[in-house]
């Protein structure tokens, strides 16, 4: 019995092993490496097996850093605003788009708004830096045109988080709309007809038919987005920030980059990264748990 099972199943093992091996080297080895390096004073010349152990010193150091509290706050603050805006805007847009009855018009709107999703943060940041420039940018030309002072969007701590959230919505809302729109299209048209016959206005139909029809997918997306509570968006912030807005824009991931790759404090950066991974995993497990409980969502 055992032998015949192997005879049937060896091709399946053969198929999966290239991916298993690559994941081992480039996902599992770094995890093991992090568990070593975070508790060592890592020296690249010696490697993880010969570098001296320092216990919890790296963690003590990072939590005594004067910037750490601010960085943690920025991370959670920016990420939470993005989560909320990233849920509300696509839902609202999908509800409006759903009222458009001509399929071609609907598709055109949809195609136009999800274009930015496919462009990298390098390209989008390059564009944002141009249009938001206080001297040459078109946005500030318009602001000057109505007689106001130029706004330093990318160097003013009052404005910077707002720019981050708005530009993140700009990039992602169109793409997220697709999912909600798909849920809306699968609502039984008879429900709308019945509501119309009963004299429900457009607004009432939205509240009593469309929204409940979308509810399961809204719950699912909300639950899953909880896992991003420490992901403030490294690629975006890295390409938009500068020393003037560290106060409002520096987050865990940008801090790890600067400590690790610019200052070459490998162990400290790894400890910060490991701390983030552990807290994130906690939230991701909760978010998947909620998604499973309330939306019957399973990964595989």
């Amino acid at each position: 019995m055992k032998a015949s099972r192997w005879k049937n199943q060896w091709p399946l093992h053969l198929m999966i092993w290239p991916a298993v091996a690559l994941l081992f080297v480039y996902s599992y080895v770094p995890i093991a490496g992090a568990l070593f390096m975070a508790f060592q004073k890592f020296n690249p010349a010696k490697g993880v097996f010969a570098s001296p152990w320092v216990g919890l010193d790296n963690f003590r150091y990072i939590f005594s850093m004067p910037d750490m509290g601010r960085v943690l706050f920025n991370t959670v603050y920016i990420a939470s605003m993005k989560i909320v805006a990233g849920l509300l805007v696509p839902i609202a847009f999908a509800l409006m788009l759903n009222e458009v009855r001509v399929a071609a018009v609907k598709r055109t709107f949809q195609t136009l708004v999800y274009l930015p999703h496919f462009l990298s943060w390098v390209i989008l940041s390059g564009i944002l830096i141009d249009i938001l420039s206080p001297s040459e940018g078109i946005v500030n030309k318009a602001i000057a045109g109505i007689g106001l002072q130029p706004v330093f969007f990318l160097t003013d701590n009052r404005w910077f988080p707002f720019v981050l959230v708005t530009s993140d919505v700009w990039k992602e809302f169109g793409y997220a709309t697709i999912i909600y729109l798909a849920a809306l299209t699968s609502i039984n048209p008879a429900l709308y007809e019945a509501a119309e016959i009963d004299g429900a206005s457009r607004w009432k139909r939205t509240i009593y038919v469309s929204l409940p029809g979308m509810a399961p997918i809204i719950v699912l997306m909300a639950a899953l987005s909880l896992g991003n509570v420490l992901n403030a968006g490294f690629e975006q912030i890295f390409n938009l920030y500068n020393a003037l807005v560290y106060e409002s824009g520096d987050v865990i991931d940008t801090l790890v980059y600067r400590i690790g790759l610019e200052q070459a404090q490998y162990s400290v950066a790894t400890a910060v990264g490991l701390f983030k991974s552990l807290v994130s995993m906690f939230f991701i497990v909760i978010s998947y748990g909620l998604a499973y409980r309330f939306a019957n969502y399973r990964l595989f």
């Binding site: 690559l22 009855r101 930015p116």
Partner: protein, 296 residues
């Protein structure tokens, strides 16, 4: 099209407001993109004067001429093309090969659940930036094109997408093929892959776009700037404003181009392949994303 929509309209003023909001927000989305295109085709003088909004002023191709004469820019584009080709091929093979066994029931494939968790775990937990960098360094990939392909060669998200698609396919075909003596490899190649074209188009598009757009791995894994892919080079020029690249020395050219118009042209060139690809795959793509939305 809008007229057509308006004629069909029965909704009164609330409908008018609705269309206005949709139109304005869509145009706002596109405005920055169109503006940067307009700047890239304008003279430096017009761009600086602020008269360029959505249409080029003193239209000229000078910025593009300058960009296409920059050897390093062209070489970086070639590196990006290579990485996209390699990563798409490697990713396609690995995704198909891994998704098939994972789509079996545990009784057909002992260890299936264990393998599935092994794949899914990396979505929950990672070692972080520095340990990954050290691993790439220790496997001698730094400053080679493989540093851009191999570390992310297994797109776990795509594997999950494809395995869920495989599970939705009717089992009858497969069973009759097996009765005719087809093995697992043949079933995958002749039945599963041809039936999964929408999902495969989606995962391939994801891979291609992700690799064309990825700039960060180039920044950390390449020491020599000659090895940068296009988006990394663009990051260095447009965002980090590396002085090495902001040298428009030719005085005659200065009259027509500036850093600003050249950067705009570079941005447009780097975005162009994406603009070219995404409308064509849209039909497949929307199918795929809806399927992916149920299984993130």
């Amino acid at each position: 099209m809008l007229l057509l929509a308006a004629r069909k309209w029965k909704g009164g003023w609330s409908g008018g407001i609705l269309y206005a909001i949709l139109l304005v927000s869509s145009l706002l989305c596109l405005f920055p993109l169109v503006h940067v295109v307009a700047v890239s085709f304008s003279s430096s003088h017009a761009a600086a004067s602020g008269s360029v909004v959505l249409w080029p002023e003193e239209a000229t191709l000078s910025s593009y001429r300058f960009v296409f004469r920059q050897r390093q820019f062209l070489e970086a584009a070639w590196i990006s093309a290579q990485r996209v080709a390699l990563a798409t091929a490697v990713g396609f093979v690995l995704t198909g090969l891994a998704a098939y066994p994972l789509s079996r029931e545990p009784r057909e494939f002992a260890g299936r659940t264990l393998y599935a968790w092994y794949f899914a775990f990396v979505l929950f937990f990672g070692g972080g930036l520095i340990p990954l960098y050290m691993t790439v360094k220790d496997t001698h990939l730094l400053d080679t094109i493989w540093a851009l392909v191999i570390p992310g060669a297994v797109p776990v998200f795509n594997v999950l997408l494809l395995l869920n698609f495989f599970r939705g396919l009717p089992r009858g075909l497969e069973e009759s093929a097996k009765l005719d003596g087809a093995g697992h490899f043949k079933v995958l190649l002749r039945i599963y892959l041809p039936l999964s074209l929408p999902a495969l188009a989606t995962t391939t598009l994801f891979t291609m776009v992700a690799h064309w757009n990825n700039w960060f791995d180039g920044l950390i894994y390449m020491n020599a700037k000659d090895n940068y892919p296009l988006q990394t080079l663009l990051q260095t020029i447009v965002i980090a404003k590396d002085a090495q690249f902001s040298s428009i020395q030719d005085a005659a050219a200065m009259a027509l181009i500036s850093d600003r118009t050249v950067h705009s042209a570079q941005i447009v060139v780097a975005a162009f392949p994406i603009l070219l690809v995404y409308p064509f795959l849209q039909r497949f793509f929307i199918k795929g994303i809806v399927l992916g939305s149920v299984k993130e």
